[in-house]
């Protein structure tokens, strides 16, 4: 059940345009402070903090303290897990189908 909980939090974190924008902002430039991120969003500081907290809970954002600053980094590991769980396995049958088609066509030609 614990695994299920992790994935629920992850998809919930992704199911919001502001949080996806925050991930895009970090992807464009990693290691940003809260103030830096606020400049790109039309939202209160508290609002951005809440979104960042949810992203941290989902492990999509990792924060690192550097002196007085708290820097936010995009953590791609959970996205890799989504890829493996929800994308790779659905791709495999298609790749197999393509392989089968190639073999069949080549046999017909020969």
């Amino acid at each position: 059940m614990a695994e299920l909980h992790d994935i629920d939090v992850l998809f919930k974190a992704l199911a919001d345009p502001t949080r996806r924008k925050l991930l895009d902002l970090l992807h464009a430039h990693d290691g940003r402070t809260l103030s830096d991120l606020c400049e790109h969003l039309d939202m209160t500081r508290q609002g951005v903090t809440q979104h960042l907290n949810l992203l941290e809970m989902a492990n999509l954002v990792a924060s690192v303290r550097r002196g007085r600053e708290k820097l936010h980094f995009l953590n791609p590991v959970p996205l890799q897990e989504i890829y493996e769980r929800w994308i790779a396995k659905f791709e495999k049958p298609r790749l197999k189908a393509l392989g089968d088609l190639k073999r069949r066509l080549e046999r017909t030609n020969g």
């Binding site: 614990a2 992790d6 990693d30 290691g31 492990n59 990792a62 690192v64 980094f73 953590n75 791609p76 590991v77 996205l79 890799q80 897990e81 493996e84 790779a88």
Partner: protein, 152 residues
């Protein structure tokens, strides 16, 4: 000078001891989640470190800067194969392990004092797959990905 940093975090349901071993001296285990690659070192401060591929080639090497077993490991990392990546110089890689509830938090921070960095871009393609595989192997006994460094 600008700095490039990448941070990878995974919460793994294991013990700090098992995770430390998986990242250091358990060579056969490492090969299972690192696509056949293993790292050779004595895992003590000052000892040399190198990354060995299945064909015996060494792409990255350096030395252990800090080693606090089950807690923290700092590697002075340098690419050795591609000239333009090698020219970028040293890139410290810090691995931190801490208990977090019933799991263990693994944080890997790779830094280089330049931006952009081709080395950081190169490792950023690998780390998520390696960490994800390591988590899966420790938690379920099976690695998810088997294809070595597929580009897609």
């Amino acid at each position: 000078m600008a700095r490039s940093t990448f941070v990878y975090v995974a919460y793994i349901r294991t013990t700090p001891e098992k995770l430390w071993s998986a990242l250091t001296d358990d060579v056969e285990f490492m090969k299972q989640y690192w696509f056949g690659v293993h790292c050779e070192s004595e895992w003590k401060a000052g000892s040399s470190w190198k990354m060995v591929h299945p064909d015996g080639s060494i792409t990255d090497a350096g030395e252990i800067v800090e080693a606090d077993p089950t807690k923290r490991l700092v590697i002075r990392w340098r690419h050795e194969k591609k000239p333009d990546l090698k020219a970028e110089g040293d890139s410290p890689c810090t691995i931190e392990i801490e208990r977090s509830g019933t799991a263990v938090k693994l944080s890997i921070t790779h830094t280089i004092e330049r931006e952009p960095s081709q080395l950081i871009t190169a490792v950023s393609g690998g780390w998520p797959k390696i960490v994800s595989n390591l988590k899966s192997l420790l938690e379920t006994g099976a690695a998810v990905l088997r294809d070595p460094y597929s580009t897609n």
